[in-house]
Amino acid sequence: MRSGYRRRLHPRERKLRRDPPTANDPHGESVVSVHPEPPSLDINVERHDGHVVVHPVGRLDATNGPALDQALEDVFDGGANRFVLDMSGIAYISSLGLAVLLRGAKRAKGEGGRISLCALQDGVTKVFEISGFFVLFDCFETRAEALAALTSPGQGD
C-alpha cells in the first residue's frame, strides 16, 4: 500500500516519488486510487539543549491542522513558551495550517515567549511570502540557528 504522501519521508525523496516508476519502485502507478490512505501529519516533539523542538512531518492542511494545533497547545500547557518549530518535513501548507501557526505565535507573544521556525521548504516559503508571515516569525535555515535565537535577545524581546 502506498499513499500520495508517505510518512516520515524526507521531502526531497517525496519529490522524487512523483517521478515515473522504476525498477526500484515496483509499486508503480495508480496504486493511489486503489488503496488511498489519508495524507497524514506525524508530529514529533523533541528536546534539544533544554528546548522543545516541534517537528511535524506531512501535510499541514485543513484535515491535519487540528493535530498540530493540539500539539502546540500541549507544549504551551507543559510550560514551554519558547520553542522551535522545525518545518523541514512540511512541503504543503494551506491557510488552515497558517491559522494554526498564527494561533501559536499569538499565544507565545501573550506569554512573553517566542516560536522560532527553521528549514522552510520552497513551497512553504512562497506561501509565507504571499501571506506576510515572515513578519510574524523569526525563520532560520537550520535548527541550530533557531535554537540559538531562543536564548539570545532580539526581535520580540
Partner: protein
C-alpha cells in the same frame, strides 16, 4: 477529450480528505510536477473550504461539484456550489503587515488562491456559484 476527474463532495469538512486524495490521484496520473501539484491542491482546498464554511445558512446537506482537467499546457479546476453568491475576485485583500497580536487569519485562503493561480474567474449561473482556476504547466 481532455483527461478529466470529477467528484462530488458534501459540505462537510470531513470530505476534504476525499478532495486531497482525488486531486493527488489526478496529479500523479498526469505526471504533474510537485510545485504545480501543490498549487493545485491549495487552490482546491481553499475554495472548497470557503464554500463549506461560508456558503450555506442552513444545516441541510449540499453538494459541491469539483472537476480537474488537463488541457493544453494547463490544469483547469472548477468548483461549483449552490450556496449564497460569492465572488472570490471581489473580496478585499487581507492586511498583511499587522503585528502578531492584531493579525487576523481571515481572507488569507482566497488571497493565496488569487496570488498562486494563473487565472481565476467567477460566474453566478442560476442559483450556483462557479469558480474556475487555471494553473499553467511548465513548458
Amino acid at each position: 477529450m481532455a483527461p478529466t476527474q470529477r467528484l462530488t463532495l458534501a459540505n462537510d469538512p470531513a470530505d476534504l480528505v476525499k478532495l486531497t486524495l482525488a486531486a493527488q490521484a489526478f496529479l500523479d496520473e498526469q505526471g504533474v510536477p510537485a510545485d504545480v501539484g501543490d498549487t493545485t491542491q491549495l487552490a482546491l482546498e481553499e475554495i472548497v473550504t470557503n464554500v463549506i464554511k461560508y456558503a450555506y445558512d442552513d444545516d441541510a446537506p449540499h453538494r459541491v461539484e469539483v472537476s480537474m482537467a488537463r488541457e493544453d499546457g494547463v490544469i483547469v479546476l472548477c468548483v461549483e456550489d449552490d450556496g449564497r453568491p460569492f465572488d472570490p475576485l471581489q473580496t478585499p485583500p487581507p492586511a498583511l503587515d499587522e503585528p502578531v497580536e492584531e493579525r487576523s487569519i481571515g481572507g488569507l485562503g482566497i488571497h493565496l488562491v488569487r496570488q498562486l493561480v494563473d487565472q481565476l474567474s467567477y460566474e453566478r449561473v442560476g442559483d450556483r456559484n462557479r469558480v474556475e482556476m487555471r494553473i499553467a504547466l511548465p513548458t
